[in-house]
Symmetry: C2
Subunit: 192 residues, 2 copies
DNA sequence: TTCACTTATTGAACTAGTTCAACCTGCGCC
DNA sequence: GGCGCAGGTTGAACTAGTTCAATAAGTGAA
């Protein structure tokens, strides 16, 4: 079960086997039932998590009660509100399990300790943050330039397995459109 | 002239004076005239830069020839296409001077060398990337939830000095709306 | 089996934002 | 001094996307 985590850590930067072993011992397993929360707006994000099994939605709720999805996290993804976790300030995000899930969590004190003891972790998280930032930049540009139709097609092409596990309501909240309009897009596309 | 850079470096992580001195020596000054480019799509981003004086636009040009602005960089900001710089692959972005500008550049080999010699830089750039990522997340959520009116008001409140130096065409390309529509928004707002 | 609830679809009326074309500055340049 | 031209405004016609309300199908719990 922690093999997936170890593989993930190895992918981004060259840590020694000892460093990986030492780091992964700081994680604790936890089960999160469908519809319950890893983080709620207003609370401080006091731990980060790696998804071993299951699916989560990371989202914001605006003044009108509408949800905007920042990202979905399934197996091999990370859960965190960087701002809240790093600065230990109240979060503005919700992180909710969409399926019964299994995660590995690391507390803020443990991670701070790890940064001190394993300096190479700074490089690891620098590289990981760079990658997620590049992905978000691409999404930002796509949102500024493409129609909802194109963004929907791009989404199901880029994340086919994820798309299968999501309702259209969830996908619409990610694309930034109403679920009714997504339904109309799907109809149009299905007619070729 | 390099004082601004040193201050900027100090702001994000605790480097020793020696480390800052050693790092800043790797930067070279360069002048970029208005309307000329620091980076063009298709080229590899072989250096990063810190803006000492002037103003730049970092943007993408889509298939229809429309520009989408990723961000503007004035004094005390950084210029880079992270993806192209880190992975040394052709960029999809343009970085163009909107005013006669003065920058400090560091080449890819110099920065790689610096990471080796000054491990604390990994923490510095981890923290800087985290901050820009958080800012982009907020912008993404704002774009998904707010109308163009609200986004325009937010923009001039958040970056009042920057907004003064930009034409409405540039601001519209940042907000993701046509400049004609921005003009109508401005008229509506000016009537209180 | 029934009840409550979530999910998806559809249509009609509406609104936010685009597109195109016209026009009006101000301003640098030869 | 006139010329070209980038920047901003405006209006009219259009399109992308929303909102609201109705309907139907599936699902899980008691």
């Amino acid at each position: 079960m922690t093999d997936l985590l170890k593989q993930n850590l190895t992918r981004h930067a060259a840590l020694t086997p000892e460093e990986i072993e030492q780091f992964h011992l700081l994680f604790e397993p936890r089960f999160v039932k469908k519809k319950s929360f890893f983080l709620r707006a207003g609370a401080v994000c006091d731990s980060e998590a790696f998804v071993v099994q299951g699916l989560f939605k990371v989202y914001h709720v605006d003044a009108h009660g509408f949800e905007q999805v920042l990202y979905f996290a399934m197996e091999d993804w990370w859960l965190t509100d960087i701002d809240s976790f790093v600065n230990q300030r109240p979060s503005e995000l919700f992180i909710e399990a969409l399926e019964d899930s299994e995660i590995l969590t690391i507390s803020k004190p443990s991670k701070d300790l790890a940064y001190q003891r394993i300096p190479a972790l700074n490089k690891l998280y620098r590289v990981m943050t760079e990658k997620t930032h590049v992905a978000l930049q691409r999404r930002m540009l796509a949102n500024l330039s493409k129609t909802a139709d194109q963004r929907y097609v791009d989404f199901i092409e880029k994340y086919p397995r994820l798309a299968q596990r999501l309702s259209n309501v969830q996908v619409a909240a990610y694309l930034g459109i109403s679920h009714e309009f997504l339904s109309k897009i799907r109809k149009k596309i299905s007619r070729h």
